[in-house]
């Protein structure tokens, strides 16, 4: 051990994008090293959606008509599972404070974290949805619409969920509080996401539903990181 610093030459300044990428990669790496957390949400999604055909019975017409709603509700619930820990872990080990003091605007860091969260939850759920579509006897076209609707809708769940997760940082019982806060806000996504599949099945156009889902996505993309950042600042005070 010596007192001389390792690098006397001043290191280069890291830009905003570097900080965002570093946090994004960190969260993905953490998710990879704790695969059980990521996979349990996926298994939960598949299990919940699979319970319905078992419980309701093998009547194909009924299954087909309830498929979009069931898959969407299961996706909503599954994405709630990992939300509670989005900032709670960082708060506990002190890395959240370091994020707040970073040389990068907090909303952008939050956005990087949300992107990593979506990759490890929403994206996986969406990719697993064609499997569930088979269980409910949906056609290839409807399964495609379901996949696309989930790809557009699940980022909204992560974005809106981040606000709820930030508001409950350091609060006891956050795991229950987050769904109570977030689920009502996700109702529009649920309605239009499920309706898109319904519309495709009955031969109507799905462009309107997709436009609305994309509008929700843009709106939450603009608003959620700032709201989350503000909530985090209040939470660590």
């Amino acid at each position: 051990m010596s007192a001389s610093p390792a690098a006397d030459a001043a290191p280069a300044r890291a830009g905003v994008l570097d900080a965002m990428r570093c946090l994004f990669v960190r969260d993905l790496r953490l998710a990879l090293r704790r695969r059980t957390d990521t996979l349990s949400a996926l298994v939960f999604f598949i299990l919940v959606a699979s319970l319905f055909p078992l419980g309701v019975g093998p009547e194909l017409a009924l299954l087909r008509s309830m498929a979009p709603g069931v898959v969407w509700v299961a996706a909503l619930l599954a994405s709630m599972l990992s939300l509670g820990r989005m900032f709670a872990d960082d708060h506990q080990d002190g890395t959240l404070e370091q994020m707040l003091l970073a040389a990068c605007p907090l909303p952008l860091l939050v956005l990087a974290k949300i992107a990593a969260h979506w990759l490890c939850s929403g994206l996986l759920l969406a990719l697993a949805s064609p499997l569930l579509a088979l269980q409910f006897d949906l056609g290839a076209a409807e399964a495609g619409v379901l996949l696309l609707a989930l790809l557009l809708g699940t980022p909204v769940l992560s974005l809106v969920g981040a606000v709820g997760a930030a508001l409950t940082v350091g609060v006891r019982g956050a795991a229950v509080l987050v769904p109570l806060l977030v689920l009502p806000l996700c109702i529009p996504v649920l309605i239009f996401g499920a309706a898109a599949v319904e519309a495709s099945r009955s031969g109507m156009g799905v462009a309107g539903h997709f436009s609305l889902l994309a509008a929700f996505l843009l709106l939450s993309l603009v608003g959620a990181p700032w709201a989350t950042a503000a909530a985090l600042r209040i939470a660590v005070e």
Binding site: M1, S2, A3, S4, P5, A6, A7, D8, A10, P11, A12, R13, A14, D18, A19, C22, L23, R26, R29, L30, R33, R34, Q92, D93, G94, T95, E97, Q98, M99, L100, L101, A102, A103, C104, P105, L106, L109, V236, E237
Partner: protein, 208 residues
């Protein structure tokens, strides 16, 4: 010389109780600010205020004459804050943790430099071990290794940095602090123990 860090009539209220009020202090370049006080006197709160994590109930905190609330992330580039928690991710190893901490602080550090800093911190051979397997003192050293890379940040705010360190590590940290002061930086720290820095000239003491 104009002070780098300045407190003007700062007050702290936690849970409806006033911990301190009317706190004035000025720290010039190359000076060490030692915050002292009993448990619960508000030392950590004051340090969190200096970083901008906690807005003061009253008064202003100035860095280079500007309010730190207005400086936002520019201030983050000038500051290194090490709090009670080591701010390590248990699933990442020491090098990864150190690199991330530096990147967030606005420093692009090469992995080789990070490993060298960990070696100086007395962690050679432990830099690829997940942080969860490190002892309390070793975790502390990983967090402190960031200081060896943070020559570019003029303000260091350290909350009980000497806790859980053995004598060798304490001497190493004392050396880092002395170097930072020699560079014209400012170091703010709290400590219960009398430390190796006691003899240092130009200390500012703040008793809460």
């Amino acid at each position: 010389m104009a002070p780098l860090l300045e407190l003007r009539a700062v007050a702290c209220v936690r849970g409806g109780r006033t911990l301190f009020a009317g706190l004035d202090c000025a720290v010039a370049a190359g000076q060490l600010l030692r915050v002292q006080g009993a448990n619960g006197a508000g030392k950590t709160s004051l340090l969190r205020m200096l970083c901008g994590l906690l807005p003061p109930a009253q008064g202003r905190i100035l860095w280079r004459g500007e309010s730190i609330a207005d400086l936002a992330e520019d201030f983050g580039r000038e500051l290194v804050y090490l709090g009670h928690a080591a701010a390590l991710k248990d699933d990442l190893n020491a090098t990864e943790n150190l690199l991330i901490a530096c990147q967030l602080g606005g420093l692009a550090v090469a992995p080789a430099a990070a490993r060298a800093a960990l070696q100086h911190a007395g962690l050679s051979g432990r830099d690829r071990v997940p942080a969860r397997q490190l002892s309390q003192g070793q975790r502390r050293r990983v967090a402190l290794a960031r200081l060896a890379l943070a020559a570019a940040a003029p303000l260091w705010v350290l909350d009980e940095p000497f806790n859980a360190l053995d004598t060798a590590a304490a001497a190493w940290l004392g050396g880092l602090v002395t170097q930072q002061l020699g560079r014209g930086g400012v170091v703010v720290l709290t400590s219960h123990q009398p430390l190796a820095l006691d003899g240092l000239a130009g200390q500012v003491e703040l008793l809460l």
